[in-house]
Symmetry: D2
Subunit: 392 residues, 4 copies
């Protein structure tokens, strides 16, 4: 089990990374999650923010968090420029704005040599993603995308088992991401989260596919290593008046011969945050659900299924490396998110082994390309579309 700040045997000189944040002021959601995640393993100190573009809210939101008022900005450009010049300026920035701002904000900080930890999807549109890709290539700083679900210990376990051949050749991948919080027209009641996420201008065109479908897509790639050769998407907008998809059925044909499906829905009544993944190979199967993240069911062909638990006897090194407390002491969403931040800290400080599991430009770009392909297929009555998943 881990002690604070790293696993035993991996100790290194203690050092906190100076962090800034863009977005995440009062009434925002994901900003608070990023702050807890950054703090949990004690690898970051939040020192500056452009928490809002509204001057008063920016200042008050900073005060809530104990920030130095001089480092509470209402303009992310000023923040990037000034922090880059400070002797003890921020080394990394968390970008937690609505999707359409990811690209301009991230580019600004990358240009200033400040590492970017960006919420997903990477950008709202494929065009923005291309521009950001170019900026990232030119920058000495890292671009990290918080596909947080890939940091769950049992997801790491699943990835390792598949890589090591426990399932043989893969045949079928079934992913779901079902929620119900948009089952009613919340956006018409002025709910802030609902408003921007159902507004194509701010979300980037995708609704459920961008907000949650990309998580499922990334998770499939992360765990299986399979590559999507083509896809077909049926998109629905069940709630009257809604102009983005709130339900999507997506079929995936993998280059390796396997078949996959993603169901992403935000109108699935009774589903809270129902992200699940089932993978079937010729020699076995794995099943995992985000709402019970500490367990992974492994069914070897012709044997009784096994319940592999975080911290338990069946869990291997990859899971152990991101485990903080013993088996039976549930770790959850925030811990997995914090693991991404821990790994980001390692990457920023140049630890050699961290790159493999940390989502960056490639994952981020592929996610935007996935949404783009889904939108194209959806508009064409579900015809097969070949997504261009690699950044230019």
């Amino acid at each position: 089990m881990s002690d604070i700040g790293g696993m035993s045997g991996e100790r290194k000189p203690f050092r906190r990374i100076r962090l800034g944040m863009v977005g995440g002021g009062r009434e925002a959601f994901i900003g608070g999650v990023h702050r807890i995640a950054a703090r949990l393993d004690d690898r970051f100190t939040l020192m500056a923010g452009a928490l809002s573009s509204d001057r008063v809210r920016a200042r008050e939101s900073g005060a809530d968090l104990g920030l130095d008022p001089k480092r509470c900005y209402d303009d992310y450009r000023k923040m990037a420029q000034r922090e880059a010049r400070l002797a003890e300026g921020i080394e990394a920035v968390a970008v937690v704005t609505p999707n359409h701002l990811h690209a301009p904000v991230a580019k600004e900080f990358l240009r200033s040599g400040i590492h970017v930890i960006c919420d997903k999807p990477l950008t709202g549109t494929l065009r923005e993603a291309r521009g950001l890709a170019a900026a990232a290539r030119k920058s000495s700083a890292r671009l990290i995308v918080t596909y947080n679900y890939s940091a769950y210990p049992m997801i790491r376990q699943a990835r390792a088992m598949i890589r090591d051949g426990a399932l043989g050749a893969l045949r079928i991948v079934r992913a779901e991401y079902a929620q119900d919080w948009l089952a009613a027209p919340l956006e018409r009641e002025g709910q802030k989260q609902a408003s921007w996420r159902t507004d194509p201008a701010r979300s980037g065109g995708g609704g459920a596919i961008g907000d949650i479908g990309t998580h499922a897509f990334q998770l499939i790639g992360f765990v299986t290593g399979l590559r999507v050769a083509r896809l077909s998407a049926d998109l629905d907008s069940f709630v009257p008046g809604r102009t983005v998809d709130d339900n999507a059925h997506i079929r995936l044909d993998f280059a390796e011969g396997a078949r996959g499906t993603i169901w992403a829905s935000q109108v699935a009544v009774g589903c809270e945050n129902g992200l699940s993944l089932r993978i079937f190979g010729e020699k076995g199967a794995l099943s995992w659900s985000q709402e019970e993240p500490n367990r992974l069911v492994h069914a070897p062909l012709g044997e009784a299924p096994r319940l592999v638990t975080r911290g338990g006897a069946g869990a291997g090194a990859e899971a152990a490396a991101v485990t903080r407390v013993p088996a039976g002491h549930p770790e959850g969403y925030l811990e997995a998110f914090a693991t991404l931040y821990r790994e980001a800290a390692d990457a920023i400080l140049g630890a050699p082994t961290s790159g493999e599991t940390l989502p960056g430009l490639a994952d981020g770009y592929a996610g935007v390309a996935f949404v783009d392909a889904c939108l194209r297929s959806g508009r064409a009555d579900g015809r097969w579309v070949v997504p261009a998943l690699d950044p230019p």
Copy 2:
């Protein structure tokens, strides 16, 4: 709770129906299930059989069951003709042969005025189904198809709740039927069940879609009342050398505007008989799984989900009518199958209310048309196909 032979308040003069069986000899599977189902509520007596076309096996199989040797046939035609003439000849026959024999056998008995209780799918091909439909229309006898999963008490409960508006307008229907018994090439080892079910000539062309996909299709219609307007099917044969599908992803567009999917697989390692159904409407959702059939989860929009159990406080009249033992005393597969036989007995004896829930020609024909449409869509890379679900 029910006493034997019928619910209290529904008693009628005791009378057992004389039953015959075609197929179901030694080493067969589903024949034994039909016999238990017929016997469980004491509404039938098995009196004759063409249990095998092999003379010795037919006789020995009959002896195993205590049949009068004179009523053990090796030819179903002779059986139909002779039994129809006997004073105490059979009144109904269970047809439990491989699929390709359903049509000729059923036609023979219908022609003889003997009621037919036929295993699903109704026939192997749509052409046979058309012929059988014609025969059924001409006969005074009933044609019943054992879509047994529609007889589970909690399925009856779900159907009643949807009919009564508990879910509002339906939006999404997700059905799965996942097994793993064909994950390896069992048919090459001479396993009898695997052999005929993977042989297009005997199965009728469909593999998983015919064997289990039709169950999911029928269940969707039974529970929701929705009508499929078009469908798209991706069919796979993952096991090398297999010539029928062993995995299918099917999309359904319903005439009423809802979307549906069926996943039918016989290579889903770790899945035993994983038939499940989830239905989402604008006001609520229902979730049911055949492997835990005594419970139904009802999630009303904006309220805590409820666990409705067979015999429990949340179950209504439709569920109670097919419940034998109190809540917490699990009823299973055989009891649901027996309920179909009980309702078949009521129908044969002319009870007025039984027709609604008893699958007959319409369900049977629609199932074959569904398989046919899936095969056509599958051959055309999943293009949308409009199935002709009504018998001519």
Copy 3:
């Protein structure tokens, strides 16, 4: 998988045993269960009954079941005497009366040389049990007690695993049997089942401990082979006015050194028929719940727990011998009950191997002695009591 009437390889000349029944008329519960159980595997034919001591009800109840009116008795003594003399008289009788009548009825039939299949508990009082034991010893006929839960396939599996040492020396046994149907004073509303079960004169003194606690007690012995050296019982009557226990906490010290507990309750709101068993040894543990009877969790020390399913890869010969349909097709309460009848048939016909799993006088007597010891301990504020479990 089994075909009807016995497992493959175990076929024998087909022969149905002629069965009678005492108790089980209209409005009774367990009589109907016994009849389905007797019929399910086609090993018995019900031919006679003293279904009620009320003449009209006896006759009408018999007519409901298609019995010959001449063999519908209103006096079990007459029935025993007359049937014993008939050429084709009954060979066995099911005793499904309230507890206080078990002893006199069973004795009468044993004296007549007719095999007795008696519901549990064997008798209402220890004194009656002694008398019945003496009668059983003198009779050529068999005495069988329907401790039906011991016939579940996964219970057979658990028993075999423990016998074969999979758990090592046993340490802790935790059994529960929790229901809620007596949480309110149902007996005051004239509910028939509640009335006799809460009436000490008809139940025998025990409430929950006799009605359901004995099941848990028998199941522990059946599965573990452990022997209770002493016990301590805290009995409660939570519902005002109730004179028998409706809740019991019982501690068991086993002769072999293990510790056990039984919780039996009929006021546990939300529990339907919550019989569960957990057994912990030095090398592993097993966990089973009657409401999901087709699965058994096996946790080997230091390994990931396994899910053993009826019909699945982890199930052995003992489970297979009492399995009718394949894995994933749930078998339930009635099937397990039917297995006892199947084994009773084998025993009556003299099959050599059936005796071991079939509960008889020893189990029946021990159950009554258990209730007696619980009542004594309960009256003495839970002091330790040594039960005399062996029949004299």
Copy 4:
């Protein structure tokens, strides 16, 4: 949902409390948990520590955490005295030593006017607890005991529902705390955690009852408000050579008339951290398990059970107040622990409402008295013992 640092509507001037720690150096477990918990909601800054009594380990452990070397002590007395005099000395200290040191350390800091956040059990012996109670009464500083399980949102929900009468008069309380990590003689292999926890001199005499049984005991009182009138305990030491209990069955008679049981075991193979609580009243029941902490099952008498989830429609204000992320995003062990620290911060800063849910001297003392009573009952073959639960 909560933003970071407090719920909306509860904002207050941002201020971090200066925290010290005694114990919790390298290889310790619970110290790391306290540090994450203190940090998660950003209400504390760790500034000093006596992390070990070994000078080198104290310094190195401090360096791991980025502590100022001048504030890394190897003697808690020196630490208390010096920090009390520093202008920016610590305001509170976390005590995370083995049990036998809790009393002397806590007394030292209380005497210095420094708030104490002490791990459970409060002390090793009742005598120490009396001394600490006296010290606490004399001090202006607060004594807080980290009974962390009482901070789970669904536990708060359960407490509120019972207080508000949802269950009516309580009848039965069933608590379990089952682990398996001491199923083998780990203490003989030099495992540090096992060594002190099975050493009566350092644990205080209790084994499983002190380590985990107290958690269950405290949780029962916290959730139900019931008061134990007497108890009876059967203690086992199953592992050869072990001198403290590794398994305990405890019966509780509550003053209000309800009955309770606790099963605490550290040899229950297959159980990881199986703390569960079931509570049955005349009008309903609640069921909760720590390993799936985000759900609470509520069974109202005569209605379908409901699944109440953290953040979901059925959760009330008490649960919402300690909820950080939306429903379906699992919160776990560390979040609940952090909630205690958040509430400790509120209490230290004088927030008026925090006292009620924060365990302090009373809970701490009662826990030690509970262990003491169990040991006395256990030595007397389980006789009933009246515990003196109130501090003198």
